[in-house]
Amino acid sequence: MSNVGIVIVSHSPLVAEGTADMVRQMVGDEVPLAWCGGNGHGGLGTNVEAIMNAIDRAWSEAGVAILVDLGGAETNSEMAVEMIGEPRAQKIIVCNAPIVEGAVMAATEASGGASLREVVATAHELSPS
């Protein structure tokens, strides 16, 4: 698929899966979509390996936008991007946006064939700063 992919990373697998459900229902299947949540040991948290796998599942040559919840999800997502390394890393961006609204808006933009830059800009418009 040539549309930008969306990855949802939450401390809670329930939040991540629920957000992905909302994206699917509101945007449809035109966007590669993956989610991950939890620390990989049954607790709340985020896990670098799980994030790397989610990026693989949602991978698109057009790039991947990642939506995160609290701080650790951002730190772990940035670490995952760095470990994936170039050339793919330059096509992966961690968005500064609320996770649910950001995922839906980014996916909506992506479903129309927008570039990674446009998808990320749409998500960022939701951010207060």
């Binding site: 390996e49 650790g72 940035e78 670490m79």
Partner: protein, 200 residues
């Protein structure tokens, strides 16, 4: 710093973290999300189980591999932060570092951790221990003095107000508790200083 027994150093560092896991969790329960001790224990047990394999590599590659292992096994925000510390150290350190090279590599590693956590000194984090340790390294302090400076620096996070991480949500209520990451960092510094100090 001759005849560094890397395997012994790795095991000693991991043993320290494992032995203090409950204390670290208690610190983190006060102002964080209470998973620091368990997360660090899991990560350092994973590192300890492969100590021989890490020690068989040249020091730079060993540090990078340990960092990667920590990233993958610690979890939470500590995984990327402690992982980055070791990975960045490995990038800059030489195979047989003297004090000058160690100081340089340590400084670069601190910059990498600060960038990863989008943080700086004075925000009640591990950086508040790393920075004084770096200064002690630069000033040619002994291993014991370096270990003491790390403990004092961790202690000095108690009256600080957290400005990064989960503890920052508490605002003023974060004051009066030691930062768990600062404590872990001081524990690691003391273990490394004492182990390396003995073999120097």
């Amino acid at each position: 710093m001759a005849a560094l027994n890397l395997s012994r150093l790795i095991v000693a560092a991991a043993d320290t973290i494992v032995a203090h896991a409950e204390e670290l969790t208690a610190l983190d329960q006060a102002i964080g999300d209470g998973d620091h001790g368990l997360n660090m224990k899991r990560g350092f047990e994973a590192v300890r189980s492969e100590a021989e394999a890490f020690a068989a590599k040249p020091l730079p590659e060993a540090l990078k591999a340990i960092g990667t292992k920590l990233v993958m096994t610690v979890g939470g925000a500590s995984g990327p932060l402690f992982g980055t510390l070791f990975m960045a150290l490995g990038k800059e350190i030489s195979a047989a570092p003297d004090r000058a090279n160690l100081s340089l590599a340590f400084g670069k590693a601190i910059e990498a951790v600060a960038a990863r956590g989008k943080s700086q000194v004075g925000q009640k984090t591990m950086l508040d221990v790393l920075q004084p340790v770096h200064e002690a390294l630069l000033r040619g302090k002994t291993a014991t003095e370096i270990a003491d400076s790390a403990d004092a620096a961790a202690e000095a996070t108690v009256p600080m107000k957290a400005l990064r991480g989960r503890a920052s949500f508490l605002g003023d209520r974060s004051i009066g508790h030691m930062d768990a990451g600062a404590r872990s960092t001081a524990l690691l510094v003391r273990t490394v200083a004492e182990t390396v100090g003995e073999s120097a």
